[in-house]
Each structure stands twice: as C-alpha cells, then as structure tokens.
C-alpha cells in the first residue's frame, strides 16, 4: 500500500496539467514492450501492451494488457492483467510525462508438473495499477516509453501490492486539435 500511495502522489504532482500545455497531440497511441513485475520476492518477466485514446489533449482513456511469467521449482506460473482507466499527460514535448490509474482483473495461472502429476490452476482477482512514466519522442509518430506502477491485487481477502515496470515503443495515430 505504501508503494501505491507514493506512486499516486508522484503521479499527481507530475501530471497536474498546466494551462499552457496546449501542444499538438495524437488522437490515439499504441504501446508494446517488455514488462518486469515482482510477485512477493520473485521476479517475473513478460510483455505489456496498451492502447490510449485521448479525449482531451491532456486526458486519455487507456486499455492495458500484460503477461508476466516465472518458473518456481516444478511450477510454471503466469500472471495476466486486463486493466483500463484514465491517463493524464500534462504537457507535450520531446519528453512527455504521464500518470494513470487503471482498474480491472488479474488472472494467475499455475502449472505444477512432478513425476506423473500435472496440475493446472487459475485464479482471477480484482485489481488496479497506479503509476506513471515518460514518453520520449523519436519521430513524428514513434516514441519510446518507460513506465512504472504499483499493482494492487485483492486475493483471498487481502490486498497485495507489487511493483511493475515496462519499457517499449509507442506508435501514435491521428491528431487531436
């Protein structure tokens, strides 16, 4: 929870829109890249994809999906997230900071294989992700993006907070006047 509070506070400070933030903006953008996540004290690696549609120059709506994987002894584990929510970017420039607050579901899938036993289990839990990042413009349509958030997962009566990190490229579409 402390991670989530820090992430939310930073996002609020960084992303409060300035009145003079009127810059040329894309109508939509798509992100894809590598993802890293912690699950307790374990490292997971995977992918992250997101699509954002901007309804204002500084306000968009994001849909975010990710998959993270780890092998733990005889168990392969994967965690998928499907999240959506607002994303704010206070100004546009070569470096564009942003913050987001997403909510949705996390699905954890495990497969244990030992001797002749093979067991598959899945669990879907509600959750959220609070965080932010920065876009670095590479060209008119392309940008690099890095973001970090705290994933909050409500599982079996308790809320777990784990950090996630993603880095990849962004392709922008359209123009928002």
């Amino acid at each position: 929870m402390r991670q989530a509070a820090v992430a939310l506070g930073l996002a609020f400070v960084v992303c409060t829109p300035f009145p003079s933030a009127a810059q040329e903006s894309a109508r939509a953008e798509a992100f894809g890249g590598y993802a890293f996540a912690r699950d307790d004290d374990r490292n997971m690696h995977g992918w992250n994809g997101a699509v954002t549609f901007y309804v204002r120059k500084w306000l968009g709506v994001s849909a975010d999906v990710s998959g993270d994987y780890v092998t733990l002894g005889a168990t392969d584990r994967a965690r998928f997230a499907v999240l959506g929510g607002p994303r704010v970017a206070p100004w546009r420039g070569r470096f564009t900071p942003f913050a987001y607050a997403l909510a949705g579901a996390f699905h954890t899938r495990s497969r244990l294989e030992f001797l002749s036993v093979s067991v598959r289990e899945g669990e879907t839990d509600p959750g959220a992700a609070l965080g932010g990042g920065v876009d670095i413009r590479l060209s008119g349509r392309w940008a690099a993006e890095a973001k970090v958030d705290a994933a909050l997962i409500r599982s079996r009566g308790r809320t777990e907070s784990n950090p996630r990190l993603s880095a990849g490229v962004v392709l922008r579409f359209g123009r928002l006047e």
Binding site: G73, A74, T75, L112, V117, V119, E121, E123
Partner: protein
C-alpha cells in the same frame, strides 16, 4: 498392403514400448543412516537430519545433495530422540526433542553440542519460524493439540489449540473419536461387522508438522484427521482465525472453519513444507506417500509405494514411513523413519529395518 500393415504394426509397437521424454523417475534413496531419523531440513544446497536413540549424543548430519555422505556438524545431548529440525533466518539450527527445543550453529570442523533454547513444550514435534523470528511448535503425540509460540529469547506461550480427537469429560474414557491405524491395531472381520479386536494403533496426533506460507499464515498437519489446518495471522503475527466456537474444548481451540483441507490421501500426514510456488508438500507416513496440496486446496497424490502383488503390502519401499519433506528447486526429498504401522507394517521389509545396519534413509525424486 502388406508393407502398410507391417509399418503400422511396427509404429504401434514403437509407440507403446518407447518411454517418452516426459516419463519421470520415482523416488530413490539418496543415503541411508545408521540411526533412525525423522526431521529433515535444508540450507539450500545441503540436507540436515539428526540420528535418534543413539547411545551417546545424537549426531546432526549434513548431507550434500550432489555428493551425499553423513558429515557430523553438531550433537544433541543424550538422552535424545529429536524429531522436527529447521533453520531460522540466521542459519541457526533448531530441533524438537521431548519437551525441549535445542539449538546450535552447524560446524563440520568443530561440531558443537546443542544448547537448550526453550523448554516446557511437551511432545514438541514440528517447528516453523514466522516472519518475526518466533518459533512455533505443536504438542505431537501428547494429542492435546497445543501450539506454542517461542520468542527470540526462548519464552514459551501457548497461543491456540487444534481440536483434539477426544476430550476428557465426566464420561469415563472421554467423548469424541479414536482414530486407529491397522496395523498395529487389528479388527475382527465377520460377515456382518468389522469391529476392533484390540486397542492398539490409536492415533491422537493432531498438531504435527508446521509451515508458514508467504502470506504469513500458519499451516498445521493433523495426522489423525488427515487434514491441514490454516491459521490466519494478522500483520503483527497474532492469530486472526476464529477460536472458541465450542466450549467443550479448552479456551483458544480453533473453530472447524479453519480446516484448509481434509482428505483421505492425507491420513497420517506428518511433516509439511511449502515450495516457492505455494504448493504444500506433505510426507504422509501411514500411507508411504507424498501428497501435494495446491494453493487452491486441491489434494493430489504425487507418489505412493507400489503394492506388492504377492503380499498385498506396500512396505518394501522406496518410501518407508516418510516423515519430513524438503523442496530444493525441482527436487523433493523426504526423511524415512521406518515406523511399524499401516502401510509400512511389518517394517522388517525394505531397505531399512529396526535391526539395522541401516535404520533411516532419505529418499529423493527430481522433476526432469
């Protein structure tokens, strides 16, 4: 047509007789011990167990998984018959013995003699450490279901109880149930009944192996019921589970809602340990079996001794009363104590026997 038939037959024969790459090796013996053993733990690369019933001090053995041999790294003062053994986060070794908890720091160069860390825990058997460094242990075969917390200074507090199988009342003999294993108990079989022929084999043990999961909840092996209890802990390490639902039991006795799983596959469950994925591995001593309980509560038998078609018994190994499991990566090992009951009866069969020379052993299986 003939060639087609020949090719088809050959392919069929090949498919039915060639082992697939997914075929797994069963449990095999890592090492035997000249004394009986019960507890087993690891420091990540070595196993540790303790010989029981020695004439002198009981030896603490270190066994390297890659090159197994019995290296003495400590001694438990005589008389001794240690059961559970575990490391704390400071790499100090603790073992349960009688009504005491002993501790030492293993050393192959100069094996130390263990000192008493705590006493006043009659029947102590399994031991587990919580996040705060407190040791927890149950009362084993005394059968009252007491579970104690022992702080870093060795101060003992009874925290809760697992409901005993039977309770003492004004009714002579108590009220409840008596779980018995056959053998050593026996029944008289008639066309209409299967009643007890004697009183042997009573199994009152309800607080045996203990283990904490990643969330900090405590799991307890209930040998008699074939069950695993889950005791929820709050962030400060206090018991959050409901107790006191039935005032027939002693104050602080767990409510039945705290049973995580109860399953016939777990009859005789002894030591338990979590792997990194949150699966609970169980040595099921009465059934010569290894059972895993998944985080969602599915109970699956991983291995059980094969039944001899001639004798109808399962006492010839490779498991011979498995008591305490350890997980190292994709390898599962268990101590074997060669008890003389149920599936392992008579314990004169198999690789280890009461007469020796091998009286205990460690068996391992590896996922390839």
């Amino acid at each position: 047509m003939r060639w087609t038939a020949i090719a088809f037959s050959a392919a069929l024969a090949l498919l039915t007789t060639t082992p697939t790459s997914a075929q797994q090796s069963p449990f095999s013996t890592l090492i035997t011990t000249p004394l009986s053993i019960e507890g087993l733990t690891t420091d990540g690369s070595n196993l540790y167990t303790i010989g029981r019933g020695a004439d002198g001090p009981c030896p603490v053995w270190q066994i390297n998984l890659g090159a197994p041999s019995l290296v003495v790294v400590g001694l438990i003062p005589n008389p001794c018959s240690p059961s559970g053994v575990v490391f704390n986060s400071s790499r100090q070794l603790f073992t349960a013995d009688g009504e005491r908890i002993y501790t030492l720091t293993p050393s192959a160069a100069s094996p130390p003699t263990a000192t008493v860390f705590a006493s006043g825990v009659p029947g102590t058997n399994g031991i587990a450490f919580d996040r705060s460094g407190n040791a927890w242990t149950g009362d084993g075969t005394t059968g009252q279901g007491r579970v104690w917390r022992i702080d870093r200074q060795g101060s003992v507090t009874e925290v809760f109880r697992v409901p005993p199988i039977a309770i003492e009342t004004t009714v002579a003999g108590g009220i409840g149930r008596d779980v018995r294993t056959l053998p050593p108990g026996t029944v008289t079989v008639t066309p209409t009944t299967r009643n007890a022929a004697d009183t042997a084999g009573s199994q009152p043990l309800v607080a045996n192996g203990l283990a904490f999961d990643r969330r900090g909840d405590l799991f307890i092996a209930d040998t008699a019921r074939g069950a695993i209890w889950r005791v929820e802990m709050d962030n400060r390490g206090n018991v959050a589970s409901h107790t006191g639902c039935d005032d027939a039991y002693a104050p602080g006795t767990l409510c039945l809602e705290n049973i995580f799983v109860a399953h016939p596959l777990l009859e005789g469950v002894d030591g338990i340990v979590f792997d990194d994925a949150g699966n609970l591995w169980c040595s099921v001593n009465e059934r010569n079996a290894i059972v895993v309980v998944t985080p969602a509560g599915r109970v699956i038998e991983v291995f059980r001794n094969p039944r001899d078609r001639t004798t109808g018994l399962r006492n010839a190994g490779p498991l011979e009363t498995p008591t305490s499991p350890v997980v190292i990566g994709k390898t599962i090992c268990t101590a074997n104590s060669d008890g003389n009951r149920r599936d392992n009866f008579p314990n004169t069969a198999g690789e280890i026997t009461p007469a020796g020379p091998a009286r205990g052993k460690i068996s391992c299986a590896r996922q390839r």
